[in-house]
């Protein structure tokens, strides 16, 4: 009995020391890790949506995997002139070793502009090949850029995506992530359009989402096949009306390729709100 108390005391002591050390570690590294992750995410956003400089986040309601209501964030990317380029979102499908965090960029018409894997715990050497720019990821991007409408399922499930040998679960999860992101984009078309019309929100901009114009069809039909009859503008040079602190430009779209108005683009560091 006495022995039990002695060993219990020792175990308690060791666990307490371990707990304190871990708490200390978390205190020291937590903020830095969060900051590192934020920087990486920022970089990834720019990579998956080329040309975008400023980002504006839009909160949308959704359901998580368990069917519970959740709030998700979609980032809207704008180029330095304030034109809407597309959206960036994080999707986390469940892979073989846990969630695969992916950053997915969709152009304004819903086509994939880029995808990047942020973190995963797939089996090294098998599932981690998802991220191989010369292998799976490269083939996937080639498929997307091929222009043909593709079904984002692995071939075994009747889709167009070549699964990684010996890592079908990881490949399926990747495809599910892509589909989830595209679905979220379609489900929230209206909200995204409304926010896109109002342009990026520099601090204290007059064009807050509440005063933004209602979504309206783009002046020109989109040149690429859109997945849905969406009122989305082409990703190309259609300028959007941009409310800014500057004297408001007329919302008449000038000729393509013309930069709408030489705006004193507010230099927002790190692209808008987080």
């Amino acid at each position: 009995m006495n022995d039990m108390i002695q060993t219990g005391k020792y175990l308690f002591f060791i666990s307490a020391v371990a707990g304190l050390l871990l708490a200390f570690t978390e205190m020291v590294t937590g903020p830095r890790i969060a900051e590192n992750n934020r920087l990486v995410l920022e970089k990834a956003r720019r990579e998956v949506l080329p040309g975008a400089e400023r980002f504006d986040s839009l909160e949308v309601a959704a359901t998580d995997d368990a069917g519970q209501p959740a709030t998700l964030s979609i980032s809207l990317g704008f180029d330095p002139q304030g034109r809407f380029l597309g959206t960036v979102q994080t999707v986390s499908p469940k892979g073989y070793g846990g969630a695969i965090d992916m950053v997915l960029g969709l152009k304004a018409d819903g086509a994939i502009s880029g995808v990047k894997i942020q973190s995963m715990r797939e089996t090294p050497g098998l599932g981690t090949k998802l991220n191989d720019p010369e292998g799976f990821l490269g083939r996937f991007l080639a498929l997307v850029q091929g222009g043909k409408p593709a079904r984002f399922h692995v071939k075994k499930d009747g889709g167009d995506v070549d699964a990684i040998t010996a890592a079908t679960i990881s490949s399926r999860a990747f495809c599910k992530g892509i589909r989830d992101g595209m679905k979220r984009f379609q489900d929230n078309q209206a909200a995204i359009q409304a926010r896109a019309q109002s342009g990026p929100a520099p601090t204290g901009a007059p064009g807050s989402p509440t005063t933004g114009t209602a979504p309206q069809p783009a002046p020109a039909p989109t040149p690429t096949p859109t997945p849905a009859p969406s009122p989305s503008p082409a990703p190309g040079p259609e300028p959007m009306p941009i409310p800014t602190p500057a004297p408001a430009p007329t919302p008449v779209p000038p000729a393509p390729d013309a930069v709408p108005v030489p705006l004193p683009a507010p230099a927002v560091p790190q692209g808008g709100t987080q």
Binding site: D3, Q6, T7, Y10, L11, I14, S15, A18, L21, L22, T25, E26, V28, T29, R32, I33, N36, V40, M120, R121, T123, P124, G125, L126, T128, T165, A166
Partner: protein, 197 residues
């Protein structure tokens, strides 16, 4: 300094081929050289830390509860290494971070704590850890050499002539790992028993 503690892990008491600990990561991560070396470095690092700490506290630990104590020490150490790497060396963390959770299933670390560090001085324990880590890394690299060359037609990611166009996919899957593992172990035992027969 007892150099034998350092060298024994490489050949005579190689953790994979002789002690046969840590076979799970050895099979899972030996599909390419880059992974084998990454896993080897991460495991060696944790092994050195855990061996040192356990050797330092060995006098005070009650015998009955030594295993739970070791597990707490190792888990704490692994978590701290993981967090500090992520915070201060994010690039390295991105390369090795994926192996950190796999170290949890690496029996070599608990094995060395129990078989060596709790009976020997801190210095010897560090030498033992370095030797065992090296032996583990070399064993993984050996397996990975065969699996990557035969299974992917590459070596360190660089295509190898002859096999590059028609690699044997089986080799990068689990059965290939067992084949290579078994043949290498047979070779090792044959050599250790005196070679030609």
């Amino acid at each position: 300094m007892n150099w034998k503690e350092l060298t024994k892990g490489i050949w005579a008491e190689n953790p994979i081929f002789v002690i046969m600990l840590g076979c799970c990561p050895a099979l899972a991560v030996s599909t390419s050289m880059a992974n084998a070396i990454g896993m080897g470095i991460a495991a060696t690092f944790v092994l050195i830390g855990s061996n040192l700490i356990i050797s330092l506290i060995r006098a005070g630990v009650p015998d009955k509860i030594r295993i739970p104590v070791y597990i707490v020490v190792i888990a704490t150490f692994v978590t701290m290494v993981d967090k500090f790497m992520a915070a201060f060396t994010p690039a390295l963390s991105e390369k090795l971070g994926i192996f950190i959770p796999l170290i949890v299933v690496n029996c070599i670390i608990l094995g060395r704590a129990e078989a060596f560090a709790n009976k020997n001085t801190p210095l010897d324990s560090i030498l033992d850890a370095i030797g065992m880590g090296l032996g583990f890394t070399i064993a993984l690299s050996l397996i990975a050499t065969f699996r990557e060359v035969l299974g992917e037609g590459k070596f360190f990611g660089i295509p190898v002539p002859l096999v590059r166009n028609d690699p044997c996919l089986l080799m990068i899957m689990a059965p290939g790992g067992f084949f290579v593992f078994g043949l290498l172990m047979a070779w090792k035992r044959h050599m250790a028993a005196g070679g030609a027969k």
